[in-house]
Subunit: 475 residues, 2 copies
């Protein structure tokens, strides 16, 4: 049986030590595809740890796609090396949350109703007193310097703080020199098209973040939609697309929160290195909102090719109105970027950058994220329990893989004559039709709605759902 030395005196939780140990055995090939893992109880006994510890470790491995489970059988090592991966993936209940075949990226529009509610929810949790104190501090400490023009790349202090935070929270090791600060992710989409050029083909997830497509189209860049399955982008589709640059969200696919499993990531990596001018833009939007286990590693942190550009934003973790995003370039692209794009000034005020720096360095950012995660995961649970009520359970179900600030509300065969869109507008304004987020329509989504639950109370949800269900089915 698997034997590892777990050290309770270490800062790293036991379940993490265990999952890391199993992970490295899988990657080293000591555990082979299809190998059955010991049952939780027996492994717990064997290692002298609690069953919870093993459960958490397996859950983490499951979520990252290293193992899969079979009903009433147990846990097996995933086939993460060969291309036949997706075959075994189909039988992989780790993605059963997605097995309805519904994957709808969102419009991350801070101007949308959903986001207003999101921001108000976040606002209640946001430590204003701290933020305002930090701002006053910046004004007093920096004096005239906050008026001095900062480097176009963003202030060094902030880039260092972000690098430290990414290392601590995501295990990413990034040099501050690779980090660029900008006013929102859309800004970087624009810059990236200018940098890579609009004569290249850009592959986007379909359904995908609509706004990403809007920006590429506004730049007259050719975009190719990519078909998805439960594991996210299908490597074969990417190959077929003939695209050189893939703009993808391997983490937390909206709205299922599905995570691209490790095997699939490796296949995408193989596509990446197979062509000379291929690049991946990893959009890590909402990656902070994973409600169980530790964060999934980013593809950027797995990258050895130097061809992955990483983008993330503070507009969801702090506030939409903050308008600070950052981009991490592979070390090899930093100089070319400076040469071609260096004339651009930084679009974020130094003052905001300095305040955010203090917010991160002071540990307030991490605490705020944890507050948000606690708030949203609790809210998500209570909303799930609403749908499980007998009066709703037979008509609809919630699909969410435990991350992100949205879930899918799937209705059972809606009568053809009912106008779901207008009913949602009427009774559940936080919900929208999935077709609104599709580049190309897809019949699979006809009975589904996307719900941004960030501003939704269980009471309001119950009332709205009652009206919806009666109107749709009680005919």
């Amino acid at each position: 049986m698997l034997t590892y030395v777990l050290d309770a005196s270490l800062q790293q939780p036991l379940y993490e030590q265990l999952s890391e140990a199993v992970k490295s055995d899988i990657l080293a090939g000591h555990l082979k595809s299809g190998d059955k893992l010991p049952s939780k109880i027996s492994l717990a006994d064997h290692l002298g740890v609690s069953k919870i510890t093993v459960e958490n470790a397996y859950a983490q491995l499951l979520a990252e796609g290293y193992i899969y489970s079979r009903e009433r059988s147990g846990y097996y090592v995933e086939d993460i090396q060969v291309a036949g991966f997706s075959a075994s993936l189909d039988a992989n209940p780790a993605f059963s949350g997605a097995s309805a075949g519904v994957f709808i990226p969102e419009i991350p529009s801070e101007a949308s109703e959903e986001n207003r509610s999101a921001s108000s929810a976040a606002a209640e949790l946001f430590p204003f007193s701290v933020w305002s104190r930090l701002m006053r501090g910046v004004i007093l400490d920096s004096g005239p310097d906050i008026l001095a023009p900062g480097p176009g790349q963003g202030l060094r202090q902030l880039r260092e703080a972000i690098a430290k935070d990414l290392f601590k929270r995501r295990g990413m090791s990034v040099d501050p020199g690779q980090i660029f600060i900008g006013a929102g992710s859309e800004y970087f989409y624009n810059m990236l098209v200018q940098f890579f050029g609009r004569t290249r083909k850009y592959a986007l997830e379909n359904p995908g973040h609509r706004k990403i497509g809007f920006v590429y189209e506004a730049n007259d860049a050719e975009i190719v939609p990519l078909k998805l399955d439960q594991g996210g982008v299908i490597p074969g589709e990417l190959e077929k697309s003939g695209a050189e640059i893939a703009h993808i969200t391997p983490f937390n696919h909206f709205p299922t929160g599905a995570v691209m499993p490790i095997g699939r990531r490796q296949q995408i990596m193989s596509w990446l290195v197979a062509g000379e001018n291929r690049y991946i833009i990893e959009d890590d939007y909402d990656s902070e909102f994973r409600f169980s286990g530790r964060p999934i590693p980013s593809m950027q942190s797995m990258d050895t090719s130097g061809r992955i550009i990483y983008i993330n934003t503070f507009s969801r973790t702090i506030a939409p109105a903050i308008r600070i995003s950052y981009m991490i370039l592979p070390a090899g692209l930093v100089e070319p970027w400076r040469t071609k794009m260096g004339f651009y000034n930084c679009t974020v005020p130094s003052f905001e950058q300095l305040t955010l720096t203090k917010f991160i360095e002071g540990g307030y950012f991490e605490r705020h994220i944890n507050r948000l995660k606690k708030h949203y995961s609790g809210l998500l649970e209570s909303l799930k329990s609403v749908v499980l009520r007998p009066e709703f359970a037979e008509y609809c179900k919630i699909i969410n893989a435990g991350s992100g600030l949205n879930f899918i509300l799937e209705f059972k065969d809606i009568p053809a004559d009912s106008n779901l869109r207008s009913l949602l507008n009427l009774y559940l304004p936080q919900a929208s039709l999935i077709e609104d987020y599709c580049i190309a329509p897809d019949a699979r989504y006809d009975n589904c709605a996307v719900v941004d639950y960030t501003g939704l109370s269980p009471e309001k949800f119950g009332e709205g759902l009652a009206l919806l269900v009666t109107t749709i089915y009680a005919k």
Copy 2:
């Protein structure tokens, strides 16, 4: 003789009442091209006002190009209707500051050395205590709202404040609905290319703001350089260029501070309305820094065609690090813009917008501009007097028309073997070669340097100049 009723009890200064009266008589045709105006003394007697009043009025009319003066002869009405305007312009000493034929737009790079000094100079004058108090006020008053996503166009309050300020300071009447807030002018250059499309020809002043060209080039838009003369863009050149969109700076042409005279503006307007899809992007950068008389009206405020887009920035008047610019669209373009570009979020944090709103509404902005103008005009004068010293006067002269934060330092026939660039780097780092600001090189500029004087003390200037002159000529 000209007879006007001037009312000292009005808020409007007498010289303004007088210049306005003469202006309307010229536009109405009551005063014809070539008409001689009465001498200052006789008109002062006739109207019962001081000679200073008439002098200021004539100076204003001169600067705006309504009249011109002939040495030892007097003042004459400019020919502002016919195309032959530039002929009479050549004889127009109102532009003698530019008669060396040197017109070099700048790179408005907030990251440049020049701007660092500019910002430090501005920083000393900036009312920190007020700004920080306003920020604290915003935090307390707005609470969670500063985290709420604002409209993509920018906060209504700020757009109203800007509209009021423009009306008060520039006599521009603009609806807040026409104003868009963005993170720097470069941002709007990018957006404008996306809006108008990159298949059109964009005409840029040559020499011109290099960064404008960089942005258009980065967007793969075709740019056409426009030849300039003392009055700015030559209408014939614009016609020849075949461009549909002209990106120009009719006010305060860098670094001469030359102003496009009214007659020339009307010719540009005729070009504008002669073609269906023609537009002008009026870049009003540094228009606040006019040191005498009242501000020159913008072309936008003269526009009846609905085809002029106006851009200005707070990065020079408040601070480079503030990163707030605004664009004014013709009313007719607002809806098309919202339709095509409406998905973009505002790139400026709400917090900065709210603070700036209070800063403008409280009258602090206008006061700060006046402080800056006083500071820079005084500095410019003392620097001019340095160059007038006998040891310098025979070798070089300053060319500046009394606006802007730069002047041209023209040297008299520099020996061929002297390397002006390295000498400037060595002895006068605030100066740069004019060829650095030219899209295409021009021999006229070989003996000229551009000096950003914002951070330059008369002492430092004197020392640097002494070393320069000795090294260049004492051979």
